[in-house]
């Protein structure tokens, strides 16, 4: 016996560990949300391109779009245009969309929309590597002198490429400095400042390239912000050319890199690109499902969410049965309330899904009462058990028919929900209550019937609890944990709550 107990304990522990382990893996590694209502931010970035087309000329608009290789997952990307051909291709690590049309006229507007989420982003691939050296441009005269004059202290105040770049940016942004003013030539726009920084870096043979980024923040319109980046042999280092800040913030999306303009237009003029960003919320589950359609790796691989929706619906009902069974087990072994078997309350709870609880309880009570009344009347006729039960069941079905008909005539739609399944279960319950009545008498069968009803209502509420359904359905490991509890309960030797009352006479308090 002791070895059996140990075995059971080991089994329960194993089940528990496997269950908790699988759930922990899903939560901690796969980042499966614990709540169905959990949402993820989804960014919607709109780029609107507008220009005036020259009449009767071929049109070609080329615009950079984000390369989408790191940091974010694209949910959806769309190019919206009227009568344009759309072509996307890659160029030096950038992506370029080409809208083309044979001829355009008047004001034209093209749209590009990108939906992004930071979730499920695959880790950025190791950079392919960038240039680590570049030849210095030939500068003449005053510019040469100014550049040298600026570089000398920078070189002194820096230790490596990183600090060199920071120092350079700091110096260029010091507009008091005459050398800086000379190099800027009176143009104080950020682009120009970045150009000067780049120039200085080029003189020092340090490779750098401008990157154009967009901030994912809920503001209506913005323009790409210019950053500089350099390759230090392992990673790209990003710098803000205006204040020397290092490191690209998480909410910045690289749109394109290089010095080329965002949009090049042939056959049109007056082009303008405006960006707008806004944030949407999407349930984590929907997100995963829509990504699944794109063959992306999400947490729903090898879960029930891969099943067709009708099968999922069915499984959501089935998977809650062990939860109900466990509840009945606890009610019986811990509380000591008597029910008809273990499965019957769970089945009645399932029937309540279709009839709704209040209607179901009324139906259960009413029809059981009628069924048992017929039974006790037939008892006087000394009918055999089988014949008696058959008559009872026939009357139960007649009752159900009458109820359905009446409620239909009265316009109560719930009556119609007395579907086949609840009927079968009710009939079965009445048969079992009758048998208990035969074997153990009326009061006992009443006690059992009430216990069954209470257990069924409790089971029902537990089994339709959305939050719980989501948990069990998403983390099937929970079923193993339930099984562990059941195994442990199989060796439970303590008193039932009802027994404390029953044997109260044997304690001093009871005397």
């Amino acid at each position: 016996m002791r070895s059996v107990k140990l075995h059971a304990r080991l089994l329960a522990t194993t089940l528990l560990i496997v269950g908790i382990g699988s759930m922990a893996y899903q939560v901690l590694v796969q980042k499966v949300p614990l709540k169905e209502s959990e949402t993820d931010p989804v960014w919607v970035v709109d780029a609107q391109v507008s220009f005036t087309a020259r009449p009767n000329q071929p049109l070609k608009a080329r615009m950079f779009v984000p390369p989408l290789d790191s940091g974010f997952t694209a949910l959806n990307e769309s190019f919206i245009s009227n009568n344009y051909g759309v072509n996307v291709n890659r160029e030096n690590g950038n992506r370029l969309v080409t809208w083309s049309a044979r001829r355009g006229a008047g004001e034209e507007t093209l749209y590009y929309r990108l939906m992004l989420t930071p979730r499920f982003a695959e880790p950025a691939p190791p950079p392919e590597g960038g240039p680590q050296f570049r030849p210095s441009p030939s500068l003449q005269g005053a510019e040469r002198v100014a550049a040298d004059a600026l570089l000398a202290p920078i070189r002194q105040h820096s230790a490596d490429i990183e600090t060199f770049i920071s120092e350079t940016i700091k110096r260029v942004n010091n507009l008091e400095n005459d050398n800086v003013r000379l190099l800027l030539g009176g143009d104080l726009r950020p682009e120009n400042r970045a150009r000067v920084v780049d120039l200085l870096l080029a003189v020092a043979h340090i490779p750098a390239e401008p990157v154009h980024t967009l901030q994912l923040a809920d503001n209506k319109s913005q323009q790409p912000e210019l950053w500089l980046r350099t390759f230090n042999g392992q990673d790209w280092l990003y710098f803000n050319p205006l204040d020397g800040r290092q490191g690209l913030p998480e909410d910045r999306l690289v749109w394109w890199s290089g010095e080329k303009p965002l949009l090049t237009l042939e056959g049109g003029r007056g082009s303008r690109v405006s960006f707008s960003v806004h944030e949407n919320e999407m349930s984590a589950l929907q997100l995963a499902q829509s990504l699944k359609l794109q063959d992306r790796n999400t947490f729903i691989d090898f879960t029930f969410y891969e099943l067709p929706v009708p099968t999922q619906q069915l499984l959501k009902v089935l998977i809650m049965i062990p939860v109900g069974v466990l509840l009945v087990l606890l009610i019986r072994s811990l509380v000591g309330m008597e029910t008809l078997g273990t499965f019957t309350p769970v089945l009645i709870a399932l029937a309540f899904r279709e009839t709704q609880v209040i209607w179901g309880v009324l139906l259960f009570t009413g029809i059981t009462t009628v069924g048992l009344s017929v039974r006790s009347y037939l008892e006087h006729l000394k009918l055999q058990l089988l014949a008696r039960l058959s008559v009872v069941l026939t009357f139960v079905v007649i009752m159900m028919g009458v109820i359905t008909l009446l409620s239909y005539k009265l316009g109560l739609s719930t009556g119609l929900s007395v579907a086949l399944f609840p009927m079968v279960i009710l009939t079965m319950v009445i048969e079992r209550v009758s048998i208990v009545w035969e074997e153990r008498g009326g009061p006992q069968s009443l006690k059992v019937a009430i216990g069954t009803l209470i257990a069924a209502v409790l089971c029902h509420f537990l089994m339709v609890w959305e939050q719980l359904i989501y948990l069990v359905f998403t983390f099937p490991g929970i079923l193993l944990m339930l099984a562990a509890v059941m195994v442990v309960m199989g060796h439970y030797r303590g008193y039932r709550l009802m027994e404390l009352l029953r044997f109260r006479a044997m304690t001093e308090e009871g005397n």
Partner: protein, 333 residues
């Protein structure tokens, strides 16, 4: 808190709960395949007869509708008899015939029963009205036990019986079950009969239980239930102890009746005896069972060879109550 204190108090007294009975005793000691031996009264009776255990004499069995007509022949030489369903539960379907009059039968309550009515009753038994789950059953016709007059003052209608719980052949607890008006002559505690604890060592009754309460007097006759000496007590214990060897069921409830003329007889066996006996004897079954289990452990492999007499002696030694009632009635008054 009420619950925790009660829990502790019950544990301390070694009171057995249903979970513990099912897990540690019924599941441990009773092989499932042995249940049919005790579920069918006819099989139990044949088993007992072959082992020489005294049971109410069986007059005949009726197991087919055609067989009903043989009833006349079966009871030809017997003025009184009992008809029982072989697999009935809780005393349902038992008909006691005490006399005959002008071709009619007279029931124990004095009602006149026509032969047709009796045949209809037997037909009901055969079709399974009274059997568990409604299976086809057999009707058993046997000797009508006449209760010893000793219990007249403390029982109403029906025959009192003695329930003895036997663990591995050692009687651990005993109670006398007395019918009441509420139980309708049946000696079943669930149906309202009272249970009176019996001292294993002497066979003297102690206080009683009725509906989970402790009582001292019979609710109908108002006579004290304590202090009645059960006749032939040693024989009762021997009978009960032998039922273990008979069936192989390690945890067994043995029901005995005290016949006025023939002494104690085994009536039926129960593989899942109830727990209310604990209130009757005012002692925990676990406490008592553990004494036996400890003894068995000490014996080791010799445990199976322990003769009945030694087992009964051990029980008497360990389960004697400290204080017997002041007055003990040994003969009917």
């Amino acid at each position: 808190m009420f619950g925790i204190n009660t829990w502790k108090a019950l544990r301390q007294r070694g009171v057995m709960g249903i979970n513990q009975r099912n897990g540690d005793y019924v599941l441990m000691y009773n092989d499932r395949h042995l249940y049919p031996l005790v579920d069918d009264k006819i099989r139990t009776k044949n088993l007992a007869l072959s082992a020489g255990i005294r049971v109410p004499e069986m007059y005949g069995i009726i197991d087919t509708e055609q067989g009903i007509s043989t009833l006349d022949h079966i009871v030809e030489t017997h003025g009184d008899f009992v008809i029982k369903p072989a697999q009935g539960a809780g005393g349902d379907g038992i008909m006691v015939i005490s006399d005959r009059f002008e071709g009619f039968y007279r029931s124990s309550s004095g009602r006149m029963i026509s032969p047709e009515e009796l045949e209809f009753h037997i037909s009901g038994i055969i079709s399974g009205i009274y059997s568990l789950g409604g299976h086809r059953d057999r009707a058993l016709i046997e000797y009508r036990v006449r209760s010893t007059d000793l219990f007249d003052r403390i029982s109403i209608g029906g025959v009192p019986d003695v329930r003895i719980i036997v663990l591995k052949g050692y009687p651990v607890a005993a109670m006398l079950r007395l019918p009441t008006r509420q139980s309708d002559g049946k000696a079943n505690l669930h149906q309202g009969a009272i249970g009176v604890g019996v001292d294993i060592a002497t066979g003297v009754t102690l206080s009683g239980t009725w509906h989970n309460l402790k009582i001292d007097r019979h609710p109908d006759t108002a006579h004290p239930v304590a202090g009645v000496q059960i006749p032939d007590w040693q024989e009762c214990l021997d009978l009960a102890a032998r039922c273990y060897d008979l069936t192989g069921l390690g945890y067994l409830g043995v029901d005995l009746v005290m016949d006025k003329h023939k002494g104690p007889m085994m009536l039926e066996l129960n593989a899942r005896p109830g727990l209310n006996i604990q209130i009757a004897i005012d002692d925990g079954l676990v406490r008592r069972c553990q004494i036996v289990e400890k003894h068995l452990e000490k014996l080791g492999d010799d445990a199976e060879a322990e003769p009945v007499a030694r087992r009964v002696a051990l029980s008497k030694q360990h389960f004697a109550v400290a204080r017997l009632p002041d007055q003990v009635i040994t003969t009917a008054q």
